[in-house]
């Protein structure tokens, strides 16, 4: 069997397994409520924050940018925490990680596959959050006005960055004992603050703005906003053309791909060397 076939099969099987783990604990109706309640609650919190204090409430010109940023960030949180959590789940909850390693499996693509279920659920959540925004809150997203080329290109590159970042965190989780539970959440929380998800990066203090400009998701959200709303939220990023934004994203995707592969393989080697693949911390 070629390496490519093994990688593809591992990815496909892991995607199916991830979907079963995510969804088969209940009936489809309860699962739909579960999948949507969390992201919709987050969007409605933002709505109330604006309704209470912003000039014009949800008609404030900043609100659509914030709403769209928050909606699409669902992907980042889900994929980053999902892939790193898959390591903990398999290693400590189901205690199957050792079997995954002893089977003819490509663990790199296996973990990528485990993130697919999260991405699928996130797609539904993002779609419904946008529909709620467009219909109930008039955030100005219409199917006719969307720049589909920019949106599809941004989503493709953004997904690559997210998936590779997830693998990187998964690798780090392999060599962590009692802190791996926090890794995904901590990184997703920091990115939520620093990528200008719910406010323009311009309002961050200068040192944090510099950090924000080094994070790929800042550019990804800028591209998504431009594609859906016709313009970005940030004056700082406004000087960059669409092509420049996509170039940065493409570079970030390639860089993250190489970095995640190297860190994952290094962590994997250390985990095997130190006997951590079947570690049980009784979390």
């Amino acid at each position: 069997m070629t390496r490519l076939t093994e990688a593809t099969r591992s990815f496909r099987t892991a995607a199916w397994l991830g979907w079963q783990i995510e969804s088969n604990w209940t009936d489809p109706f309860a699962f739909a409520i579960y999948s949507l309640a969390k992201p919709l609650a987050g969007a409605v919190i933002l709505m109330f924050m604006y309704a209470v204090v912003a000039t014009g409430g949800v008609d404030n010109p900043l609100f659509p940018h914030i709403y769209v940023g928050n909606a699409f960030y669902i992907y980042v949180g889900a994929v980053l925490t999902g892939v790193s959590w898959a390591v903990i789940d398999d290693r400590e909850h189901y205690k199957t990680l050792k079997y995954v390693y002893t089977a003819p499996t490509n663990v790199f693509t296996y973990l990528l596959g485990r993130g697919v279920a999260k991405a699928v659920i996130s797609t539904v959540a993002v779609g419904l959050t946008l529909i709620l925004g467009a219909v109930a809150l008039r955030i100005g997203v219409s199917v006719q006005a969307i720049d589909w080329t920019l949106l599809i290109a941004a989503m493709a590159l953004g997904t690559c960055v997210m998936a590779f970042a997830g693998i990187l965190l998964g690798g780090v989780s392999l060599v962590m004992a009692r802190h791996s539970f926090f890794v995904g959440e901590a990184v997703a929380g920091a990115l939520y603050l620093l990528s200008g998800v719910v406010f323009p990066v311009d309002v961050l203090p200068a040192p944090l703005q510099a950090v924000a400009r080094g994070i790929p998701f800042t550019y990804w959200l800028e591209a998504i906003r431009r594609a859906l709303l016709g313009e970005g939220a940030s004056e700082v990023l406004g000087t960059l053309s669409d092509g420049a934004i996509m170039g940065i994203l493409a570079g970030a995707a390639m860089g993250m791909g190489v970095l995640s592969y190297l860190i994952f393989r290094l962590s994997e080697h250390r985990a095997k060397e130190r006997g951590l693949i079947d570690m049980d911390t009784m979390y």
Binding site: W25, I45, R178, V198, F199
Partner: protein, 266 residues
């Protein structure tokens, strides 16, 4: 025996805080990141500075809700998964004492985290507090905790029947409760009926009262006068603790009959 059980179950929670001190960093850092993001939202729309205080206070209270969800409500599920639940069941003690010990230990440990979030938030964002009635604030705070952990004890008994769905249920209850209890905005803006319904969650009225007592300039955003909120919180405390007692014995019986007390990995 009741008291010894309470102390015995509270002890590991308090000692656990000392054993893995690095967790404190994450427990403080994670809510603080969320708080910072919401502070910058209010700054972006030039909201009055008191709203920063609202968010910081709400962020500190999230620590309690997280503790109630993951370390109270879900606890008996974790105990089942790790094999401790059957030991609890054969021990010659009250199950309520075990829940009470979990609640007391959780309260103490979480207070350290909440205080750290509050202090750092106040220092980082320059929150100005104008405390008007310290005894009332202490009363509101403790009644909120009693009612909240009473709710946690009640949920804990309901979770006794859950398998894998316990994990998802806790996940499900996280953000919607942030919304309903007005952790990051005044609950009054939900509208009178929705806010009244949300008042079943003790944090809703507790936060509203604490905000009135700490930021008196913003009383226009208050939902109910503090004295009413105190009375409702006292009533909720009694209802939740009494409800937990009844629910625990009922759910334990159901779980025994259905053979769910020792089933793992569902």
């Amino acid at each position: 025996m009741f008291l010894r059980t309470v102390v015995g179950r509270a002890y590991p929670r308090m000692v656990g805080l000392q054993r893995e001190r690095s967790w404190l960093v994450f427990d403080v850092l994670l809510p603080l990141l969320q708080v910072s993001a919401f502070v910058f939202i209010y700054r972006a729309v030039e909201a009055p500075p008191e709203f920063t205080g609202f968010v910081v206070l709400g962020g500190a209270m999230t620590a309690y809700w997280m503790n109630v969800l993951w370390n109270m409500a879900s606890q008996l599920y974790w105990e089942k998964e790790t094999g401790n639940l059957e030991i609890f069941m054969v021990a010659p003690t009250s199950r309520m004492a075990i829940l009470l010990g979990m609640a007391l230990g959780g309260m103490v440990a979480t207070t350290v985290r909440a205080a750290a979030v509050l202090t750092l938030g106040i220092l980082l964002f320059g929150v100005e507090i104008a405390l008007t009635d310290a005894p009332a604030l202490v009363g509101v705070f403790f009644l909120t905790l009693i009612a909240l952990y009473g709710m946690g004890m009640l949920l804990s008994s309901l979770y006794l029947l859950f398998g894998r769905e316990a994990w998802h249920m806790s996940n499900l209850l996280q953000e919607p409760v942030y919304l309903l209890s007005g952790l990051y905005f005044p609950v009054r803006s939900l509208g009178a009926w929705a806010a009244a319904g949300a008042s079943l969650i003790p944090m809703t009225l507790g936060l509203d009262a604490m905000r009135q007592l700490l930021f008196p300039a913003m009383t226009e955003f208050a939902f109910l006068p503090v004295r009413y909120e105190l009375a409702i919180l006292a009533a909720l405390s009694v209802v939740f603790v009494a409800g937990a007692r009844r629910a625990l014995s009922y759910m334990e019986e159901v779980a025994r009959r259905q053979g769910r007390l020792t089933v793992r990995g569902q």
